[in-house]
Amino acid sequence: MRIQVNFSTLRQTRWHDYAVRFIFGGLITALAGIIARKFGPGIGGLFLAFPAIFPASATLIEKHEREKKESHGLKGEARGRSAASIDAAGSSMGSIGLFFFALVVSQFLARDRAWIVLGGATALWLGVSVAVWQIRKAL
């Protein structure tokens, strides 16, 4: 299956769904700072890979797929769960890229230019994640 961009899905998302993800993302970022200040960068750093909006996103995907199926008069529970499960499988592949992001940050941030390290680490996250996704698809 080819990678596609479909902007119509944005119309399915209500404003409070965006608000929930903004609030969760903001809270976890603020919390990571507070934890690092209280317990040090070791414990604080763990929360940089916290699944901050994962529950909200999985619930949203499940709801969209269920509603889509039900609009055709069919039961959509299984379809919703399946879509959320496939999305979670994608996130597990993305987390491999996240590990390499953290590896680059830990090795180079202290001695190189910050914006180059963060930009390079983000590019590596995307590259590794897409490569893992393509390998998984080919198997």
Binding site: M1, I3, Q4, V5, L10, T13, Y18, R21, F22, I23, G25, G26, L27, I28, T29, A30, A32, G33, A36, P41, G42, I43, G45, L46, F47, L48, A49, F50, P51, A52, I53, F54, A58, T59, A78, S82, A84, S85, A88, A89, G90, S91, S92, G94, S95, I96, L98, F99, F101, A102, L103, V104, V105, S106, A110, A114, T122, L126, S129, R136
Partner: protein, 114 residues
């Protein structure tokens, strides 16, 4: 307080941006990659570099590796449970948060504390 507010706003904005990218992409498994985007990390590290310096932010990156391992186990388990059993996504993803905490803390302790 003002720093926490700045973290909240910057974090919320970056997390939302990555979430919107994930929303418009197909297929679902590819879009899911963006569920593990380094959004919280980018916001936090940028703020930490400004307030505490590069070395401190680098130390956060080190233990973030343990968090990423925990994320992999968390998301893999969530995927399998939702595919195999008839539990709602919200229930599965929230009930597995202690697994993330346990694995992240455990890996950090075994690798860097012991």
């Amino acid at each position: 307080m003002s720093q926490s507010l700045a973290r909240f706003i910057i974090g919320g904005a970056i997390v939302s941006a990555f979430a919107i990218i994930g929303d418009v992409l197909k297929p679902k498994s590819f879009a899911g990659l963006f569920g593990a985007a380094p959004s919280v990390a980018l916001a936090t590290l940028a703020m930490t570099i400004v307030s505490d310096g590069l070395s401190y932010a680098g130390m956060e990156g080190r233990s973030m590796m343990a968090g990423a391992i925990a994320f992999f186990i968390y998301a893999s388990l969530a995927s399998r449970i939702m595919m195999r059993y008839k539990f709602r996504a919200i229930l599965v993803t929230l009930c597995l948060i202690p697994v993330w905490l346990g694995v992240a803390g455990g890996v950090y302790y075994l690798v860097w504390v012991r």
